[in-house]
Symmetry: C2
Subunit: 210 residues, 2 copies
C-alpha cells in the first residue's frame, strides 16, 4: 500500500498522528498539492474528490477520507486500539468522533477556509471554485465551535479522554478542533478549563509532531 500525503493539511496530519500512536509505518508519497498535483493524472482518477490524504492498496483500490484510512489500518493492526475493542466501545468512540467532527471540527474548518487568505478560490475542500469567502460562514463556524466546547467541557471534568478512560481516534479529531480554537484566539483556558487541560495533555504527546 501507499499513502499519498501532504504535510500541512490537517486531514493528512490526522492520519500521521494515528500512525504514530499505533506504531505503524506506511510507505508515503508527498503530493505537491499547492501546485495542484491532485488535479493531474494519475491522482485525479485515483481520487476524483481531490482531497489528501488517500491510501492506494496493492490491488489498486483507493481509500480516501482520513477516518476511513485510519479505520482500515486499525482493522489490519488491531493493537493498540484507537477505534475500540468490542462493539460497544467501537460505538461509543464512533459517537464521540462524530460529535467532535460534525459539531466542532468541520464548522471550524469551514471558518478557516472562509477566512485565511491562502484558501481564496478553494473554500470547499478539494475544489477550485469562484465561490467567495463568506464572513457569515466564519462567524457561524466560530459560534458552533463555542457551543461544542460548552457541551464537551463538563464531560471532560471526569473523563481523561474524549471517549472516556482511554485514548481513541476521537482525541485525534478533537486535537484539531482545539487547535482551531487557539488559532481563532478563543479563550479555552478561561471558558473551558477541562477542555484546556485535555488539550495541554494531548499536545504533549510525541505523536502530535508527526
Amino acid at each position: 500500500m501507499k499513502l499519498y500525503d501532504f504535510g500541512p493539511a490537517a486531514s493528512a496530519k490526522r492520519v500521521r498522528i494515528f500512525l504514530h500512536e499505533k506504531g505503524i509505518q506506511v510507505p508515503t508519497v508527498e503530493l505537491d498539492v499547492r501546485d495542484g498535483a491532485q488535479y493531474k493524472e494519475p491522482f485525479t482518477t485515483m481520487n476524483p474528490f481531490h482531497c489528501v490524504p488517500f491510501l492506494e492498496l496493492d490491488n489498486g483500490t483507493v481509500i480516501a477520507e482520513s477516518i476511513s484510512i485510519c479505520r482500515y489500518l486499525e482493522e489490519l493492526n488491531p493493537t493498540p486500539s484507537l477505534f475500540g475493542q468490542n462493539s460497544e466501545e467501537r460505538a461509543v468512540i464512533d459517537m464521540w468522533n462524530r460529535r467532535v467532527e460534525l459539531d466542532g471540527f468541520y464548522p471550524a474548518l469551514h471558518a478557516a477556509r472562509n477566512s485565511i487568505p491562502m484558501f481564496k478560490g478553494r473554500v470547499v475542500p478539494g475544489t477550485r471554485t469562484d465561490i467567495e469567502q463568506s464572513p457569515a460562514v466564519v462567524e457561524r463556524g466560530k459560534e458552533m465551535l463555542e457551543i461544542f466546547f460548552g457541551r464537551l467541557d463538563p464531560h471532560l471534568s471526569d473523563n481523561a479522554f474524549i471517549a472516556g478512560a482511554k485514548i481513541s481516534i476521537a482525541d485525534i479529531t478533537c486535537f484539531f478542533a482545539t487547535n482551531m480554537a487557539t488559532a481563532f484566539e478563543m479563550d479555552l483556558e478561561g471558558k473551558f478549563p477541562n477542555t484546556y487541560r485535555w488539550h495541554q495533555e494531548f499536545s504533549a504527546r510525541p505523536s502530535t509532531e508527526a
Copy 2:
C-alpha cells in the same frame, strides 16, 4: 435495548430505513422533541447533545449519532451487510458515506436549518440558541450540495449504488441529500441524470416509508 426516536427527524429516519433494510426490529420509544423532551430528565443526562435518535443499551450505555447506532446494530446483525463484509469493503463504504455526509448532506442540513421557519431558535442541531438563521449559510449549503452532485454524478454512471455494486449505508445517507435537493428545487433530472436515476430507484424501496 431501547431506541429513542422522533418521527419527523431526518437522523431518526436514517436509522429506521437501516432497520428496515436489515430486517431488524428494536423496541422504540417516541420522544416528544417538539415539546423539548430531550432537554428534560432522564433524557438530557442520557444524551447531553440533545439529538435524536439515541440507543440505550441494557447496561445503561447510550449510543447517540445515527451512523454510530447503525454501525453497532450491524455488528450484532452482520447480514445483510450495509457497512461491508471485509476490511476493504468497509473502508470504501465508510469513505463514500463520509463524502456524502460531509460534502452533501450536512451542508444541505445546515441550509435547511437556516431557512425553514420551524428551525428558528435552533439552527444548531440539539441546541436552543438565539443565533439567527443566516441566508449566507443557506446559500453556501446549496452551493456545496451542487458541487457534491457534480462529483457524484459521473461515478453513478457506472455504479448501481453509491459505494459500488451493492447497497450500503452510504445510499441511505445519500437519500437524504437528494431529498434536500428536491426540497431546494434543484434540477437533479436535468443536471445530474445519474444521480436522478439512483434517487428514483432508491425512493422506490419499501424501506423509505419506514
